[in-house]
């Protein structure tokens, strides 16, 4: 048993509980500042439900909860909360400057469950796996509990030291929702220390979207020849979905609503009060403006946090890629046979496996990985359009090392764009068999840099 187990478990316990503590702190301050028009009880009921859901997930068989679906659920819950905050910011920034919104008890209850339960379940499963892997069940759970108590204590100390009325004066509904989205973004990762935030996943998602959008647009425009989709052209087009521009564009997309709100709060003139003498009118206007600016402060603060962490964690998908050294394979009787299982590897273990075939002095790389539906995906370690630098694995994605495009493992086997070029292969109980002709034919596309006949 190593100290790293204790550390990871403490971090996971601390993170989940501190997240709940900080949300509780801000939400209760919001309630105080809004004259206690809503109750905090639905929040507590929601937390209780999250606790029950997490406890139930602990007893579920390992296969029952699909890790990828859970990750998607976490990302989706972030997206829902972020879009809700955007809608609320937009509402507050629109034609009705004093638009008020409220939270109902049921909404609070459901939001609490949506917000906490996927992360909590993910953390429980992570702890379970950690304890089984390291054979340190008691120590793992005790450490996680220690993290929980540490975070709860810290949250209580902050609550004691803070002034809820003052804190709550910075928050109306849009800021509250944006705050939830930020918390989710910064602490929504479920893999302990490795992915404590959702930012790498969000970056991958945005980059994939921008890549697919550009690719599909070009494919539509270039039909049927794809003559321009040569490697040289993609060297330029790649700028748009490479790690720099795509990352910045996606960051700007993420910050659109907050920027709009800040613009409205700081730069738009205040509406003229209808009644009152000069000084009274000015005073009303001044109060409106200063309240607006005060409410913009947390949004500015959140923008700073997003931008800082975004750039701090930029490039993580690249640097943390799992990129195994290809194992040499040989051709026998017109085919390459790769064993499913041998003492050094298991093709169905979920990790990326690479193999190298040397043909006429040229190295051809093949990659095999298990998909979420348990089928094996067999592809060339190259795509149709980029130079054949190959792929690395990052969680539920393989990433093109050249253009940093993330491809979901579930999408492997589909041809086109930056997807790895699929190979027809047969799988029996012992081997994966790939015909040499198939490998050479597809490799030719890589060498030519374009798919003249299309890869189907």
């Amino acid at each position: 048993m190593s100290l790293s187990v204790i550390y990871e478990a403490v971090v996971v316990g601390f993170k989940e509980c501190f997240k709940a503590g900080i949300v509780w702190l801000i939400f209760s301050a919001y309630i105080v500042a809004n004259g206690k028009r809503i109750s905090i009880m639905p929040f507590y009921y929601g937390i209780l439900c999250v606790f029950l859901i997490s406890a139930a997930s602990f007893f579920l068989p390992r296969e029952f909860v699909n890790r990828e679906y859970l990750s998607n659920f976490i990302s989706t819950s972030f997206a829902v909360i972020f879009l809700a905050s955007g809608a609320a910011l937009f509402h507050a920034s629109g034609a009705n400057p004093e638009a008020k919104g409220g939270l109902g008890g049921i909404a609070v209850f459901l939001f609490t469950i949506l917000f906490f339960s996927p992360d909590a379940v993910g953390s429980v499963l992570f702890l379970k796996e950690l304890s089984l892997m390291k054979e340190a069940e008691v120590m793992t759970y005790v450490s996680a509990l220690a993290g929980v108590f540490l975070a709860a204590g810290l949250a209580l100390v902050i609550r004691k030291a803070s002034n809820p009325a003052w804190l709550g004066s910075f928050f109306t509904l849009p800021q509250l929702l944006l705050f939830l989205a930020i918390v989710k973004l910064l602490s929504g990762g479920i893999k302990g220390i490795a992915e404590i935030s959702l930012i790498p996943a969000v970056q991958r998602g945005f980059m994939k979207f921008s890549h697919d959008f550009i690719h599909q647009t070009l494919v539509i425009l270039m039909v049927p020849d794809h003559l321009l989709l040569s490697t040289t052209v993609w060297d330029f087009i790649g700028i748009f979905f490479g790690p720099n521009l795509a990352s910045i564009v996606s960051l700007l997309a993420l910050l659109f609503f907050p920027f709009m709100f800040i613009y409205y709060s700081l730069l738009k003139p205040a509406p003229e009060p209808e009644a009152g003498r000069g000084p009274e009118r000015r005073k009303i206007k001044y109060l409106l403006l200063s309240d607006r600016r005060r409410k913009a402060l947390p949004v500015v603060f959140f923008v700073c946090i997003i931008v800082t962490t975004w750039f701090m964690q930029r490039g993580e998908p690249v640097t943390k890629l799992y990129n195994p050294k290809p194992k040499p394979v040989v051709e026998e009787q017109g085919a390459v046979m790769i064993p499913l299982d041998d003492p050094t590897m298991n093709l169905r273990d979920g990790a990326l496996h690479k193999f190298a075939l040397t043909h006429q002095g040229e190295e051809i790389r093949i990659m095999i990985i298990r998909k979420p539906d348990n089928a094996l995906s067999v592809c060339l370690d190259a795509c149709e359009i980029c130079p054949p630098d190959g792929y690395g694995q990052s969680g539920e994605h393989v990433i093109c090392i050249y253009c940093i495009t993330p491809i979901p493992i579930s999408a492997l086997g589909e041809p086109g764009g930056c997807n790895p070029i699929p190979l027809s292969a047969s799988v029996d109980s012992k081997f994966v068999r790939i015909e040499l002709g198939e490998i050479l034919k597809k490799w030719e596309y890589v060498k030519s840099g374009k798919s003249k006949e299309g890869i189907k």
Binding site: R277, G278, P279, E280, R282, K283, K285, Y286, L289
Partner: protein, 223 residues
């Protein structure tokens, strides 16, 4: 209760007594002139009423607020909301224009509003001198800017300490006429300190001070 009430107000300095038990009441909307020789305690009394100075003992109650119980911040708010000041020297910011000087008072009250400041200057007859700096204005014009600045936040009390002390008779009359006109329109309370017998006749009441005490208090005809 009267709008301004002073009860046995004493102001002592280390070696001198500026006020020796002053008690008086002023009704809302009244124009009171305080006269007396130099060193009689006129300006000290004005500064205590305006919250610029504090009494050594006694009570100063304005609009039911006892100034002795106010913190420094509350006193600042009180001055901002209730009092307008005019002094013998204009104390205009030399590098700001007339309209900017008035806007500065708005800014410290709440926020600046140029159109309102322009209207205020037009009201005191300076609509054509908006963009002039103090050095480009005559003494009378500077004092009119001060009146606009003092009244821009609609104070309930205007305190004027020798407002015409630097002016000739003609300009003095212009200023007093202006004050009279605005006072009759807005009915705020004026307490004006002067040693000029001509100026002291431009009010409803004259309070004569001598050696830190009220010597005489008489109601006069509003000229």
């Amino acid at each position: 209760m009267s709008f301004i009430v002073l009860r046995d107000v004493i102001k002592e300095y280390k070696t001198a007594h500026a006020l020796r038990g002053v008690s008086m009441e002023v009704e809302k909307g009244q124009w009171l002139n305080i006269v007396g020789p130099s060193g009689s305690g006129k300006s000290t009394l004005l500064n205590i009423i305006g919250g610029l100075d504090s009494a050594s003992s006694g009570e100063v109650i304005i609009d039911s607020t006892n100034l002795g119980g106010l913190s420094e911040n509350d006193m600042a708010v009180f001055r901002r909301e209730k009092i307008g000041f005019i002094f013998q020297q204009s104390h205009l910011i030399p590098y700001l224009t007339a309209v900017e000087n008035v806007m500065l008072a708005q800014y410290f009250h709440s926020m600046a509003d140029e159109q309102e400041a322009v209207d205020a200057l037009a009201r005191v007859g300076l609509g054509h001198r908006l963009k002039h700096r103090p050095s480009q204005l005559s003494g009378g014009e500077q004092q009119r800017v001060c009146i606009a600045r003092a009244l821009i936040n609609s104070p309930e009390i205007l305190l004027a300490d020798e407002p015409t002390g630097n002016l000739d008779r003609e300009n003095t009359k212009v200023i007093l006429e202006l004050l009279k006109k605005i006072h009759s329109e807005e009915h705020f309370t004026i307490i004006l300190v002067t040693h000029d017998p001509f100026v002291s006749q431009w009010g409803q009441r004259v309070l004569t001070m001598e050696d830190g005490k009220i010597k005489c208090d008489e109601f006069i005809c509003y000229l």
